[in-house]
């Protein structure tokens, strides 16, 4: 059975595009758009991978990341972070907070697929690419 991704992002057209490319790659994609309830959504859905945008309404992605890493249940869950600010200090901040992978917008579809596959583990990373 396909693995599950939870996409936490508030741009409808980005959601649609990412959902499409990941679904076609065999993933089950669920989405969530509100920062304030994002931690609860991760806890409820227990996805294999979290894709987390930094700029979310009501709560920043950095805060969500810190909260998740502070909970034993999510300490090791793969989290891919997306941001429109590729500055070094943002990357450093994300790494300090325990991000699994950090990606700057705008990214290409193949970059997104590669990142998600490698976070899922070596067996998935070998899968075919259609990026």
């Amino acid at each position: 059975m396909g693995k599950r991704v939870l996409l936490i992002e508030d741009e409808p057209n980005i959601i649609e595009a990412i959902r499409f490319i990941l679904s076609r790659d065999g993933w089950t994609v669920e989405t969530h758009s509100d920062g304030a309830t994002a931690v609860a959504a991760v806890a409820a859905k227990r996805p294999d991978i979290v894709i987390l945008d930094v700029m979310l309404p009501n709560k920043s992605g950095f805060d969500i990341l810190r909260d998740l890493r502070g909970m034993a249940e999510h300490a090791a869950r793969p989290i891919l972070m997306l941001t429109a600010r590729g500055q070094k200090k943002d990357r450093d901040m994300a790494e300090a907070a325990g991000v699994s992978h950090f990606m700057t917008k705008p990214f290409s579809n193949s970059e997104m697929l590669e990142a998600v596959r490698s976070l899922a583990g070596p067996d998935r990373a070998q899968a075919h690419s259609d990026g």
Partner: protein, 450 residues
């Protein structure tokens, strides 16, 4: 040893005017002609008895030879030297790049045009540095800029991703294709709008930063052009703040509006006729004016400083600072100019008043210079009207200062012991063993060397 601000040049001018030969003047005062020649070219400092002798021989007051008209130039040069890129310090291996601060006077005397250029460039560098700081700040913290960049990048991300899907579109069904095409169209609209907004915003930023200076500097320059007095206010009118004669940046306009509205209310409470009666009876005393008009001391000081200049009326300078000590208003006087950038002298009665809110302070202060000049200073620290109960306490300190030598017959003849020596700003201040010194003086250093 007193510093002669281009005294030599004045001696030379005066001697030529009198038609005296260098040799004759030198013999009169008992020095060699070559020594006098060095003095006249500002290459030897002069003071004390020799200065008095020369003045007598030339038929002028000693002060006429030492009058400090060049003081701003000298202070500017010293400040420029102290801000020079840090080279090897004196005392160690002497660097070739150090300015010869001990010979600043000679430089100013022999090359006044170049000296003025150095000072003007120092001012310009400082202004440009501030502008770079402001722009830096803006890029890092401007919420509009950061929002619109985020919007543009988000839209570009969606477009890139969607376009990537369509580009590989072999096996996408028609409904999805139509949907992605519609998304692409919407996003391209958004991108066009967003980038247009960004461009027009950057355009206006460029314009408002054109003025170069901080809003406060702009307001002061505007007031200075009007001699710090606004005739419209005397008949209840408002001056034009935004027109051709007005201020350029909105920030300066709003600062000026606040200032002018307060000044207008005070002009109404203290009409010129009333102020002139008070001055005739008591001299320019803010306490007398405050009593007579039923206003607080700070208002009386601001009103006195805003009077139009008039024959026989002493010029009055004003500085205002907030509780952090930052100067928020500066009306300079000849010989008593608050620093344009950075903090002033901590000994000023302004700051002494800040330490004791609501206690009126009156001191005679002496600004070092050639000659030293004395001013009568009044200061008071008053709370600003609170916004509400429990609101943070905010104070404003006001200091009015008048040249003492223009207060003839008004009974203020302080003994030397009562005179408080002050400066302008530590770097250009030569006061020795000053308890309030916060950074080493350029001037003091080269006096000790000389």
């Amino acid at each position: 040893m007193p510093r002669s601000a281009l005294t030599g040049t004045r001696i030379r001018e005066r001697r030529s005017l009198e038609g005296l030969k260098q040799a004759d003047l030198a013999r009169d005062v008992g020095i060699s002609p070559s020594y006098l020649n060095l003095i006249e070219h500002n290459r030897r400092r002069i003071g004390g008895k020799l200065l008095v002798d020369l003045a007598r021989a030339l038929g002028v007051e000693p002060s006429a030879l030492t009058e400090g008209a060049q003081v701003p130039l000298m202070e500017g040069l010293q400040d420029a030297a102290s801000n020079a890129a840090p080279g090897p310090r004196r005392g160690g291996a002497k660097g070739t790049t150090d300015p010869e601060t001990a010979r600043a006077e000679e430089f100013a005397g022999r090359f006044p045009g170049w000296a003025a250029l150095v000072v003007a460039q120092r001012d310009r560098i400082t202004a440009l540095e501030r502008r770079v700081e402001a722009l830096n700040d803006r890029l890092a913290h401007d919420p509009f800029l950061s929002d619109s960049l985020h919007e543009v990048l988000s839209t570009v991300t969606a477009i890139r991703s969607t376009a990537g899907i369509l580009n590989n579109a072999g096996d996408i069904d028609r409904d999805w294709q139509a949907r992605f095409h519609r998304n692409l169209y919407e996003d391209s609209q958004r991108l066009a709008d967003g980038s247009q907004a960004l461009v027009s915003y950057l355009d206006t930023v460029g314009k408002s930063e054109d003025t170069l200076s901080a809003p406060l500097d702009e307001v002061e320059a505007w007031l200075a052009q009007r001699d710090f007095t606004i005739p419209e206010l005397e008949c209840g009118m408002m001056p034009d703040l935004v027109g051709d004669e007005g201020l350029r940046s909105p920030a300066a306009q709003s600062l000026a509006r606040k200032w002018v509205l307060r000044a207008r209310a005070e002009a109404e409470k203290m009409p010129v006729s009333l102020v002139e009666d008070v001055i005739a009876a008591h001299g320019p005393d803010p306490a007398a004016l405050a009593q007579e008009a039923g206003v607080d001391l700070a208002a009386a000081m601001r009103r006195l400083a805003a009077l139009p200049p008039k024959e026989g009326r002493p010029p009055m300078g004003l500085v205002i600072c907030d509780g952090s000590g930052a100067l928020t208003f500066r009306k300079p006087l000849d010989g008593f100019a608050p620093p344009r950038f950075g903090a002033a002298c901590a000994l000023w009665p302004l700051y002494q008043a800040l330490l004791r809110p609501m206690v009126p302070i009156r001191r005679v202060v002496e600004q070092q210079g050639q000659p030293a000049r004395r001013y009568l200073a009044y200061a008071i620290c008053q709370p600003r009207p609170p916004k509400s109960f429990d609101a943070p306490e905010v104070v404003e300190v006001t200091m009015l200062f008048l040249p003492l030598d223009r207060l003839d017959g008004l009974g203020h003849v302080p003994r030397d012991a009562e005179v408080l020596g002050v400066g302008t700003s530590c770097r250009v201040c030569a006061r020795k063993n000053c308890v309030a010194r916060r950074e080493p003086s350029m001037v003091l250093e080269d006096v000790e060397e000389g």
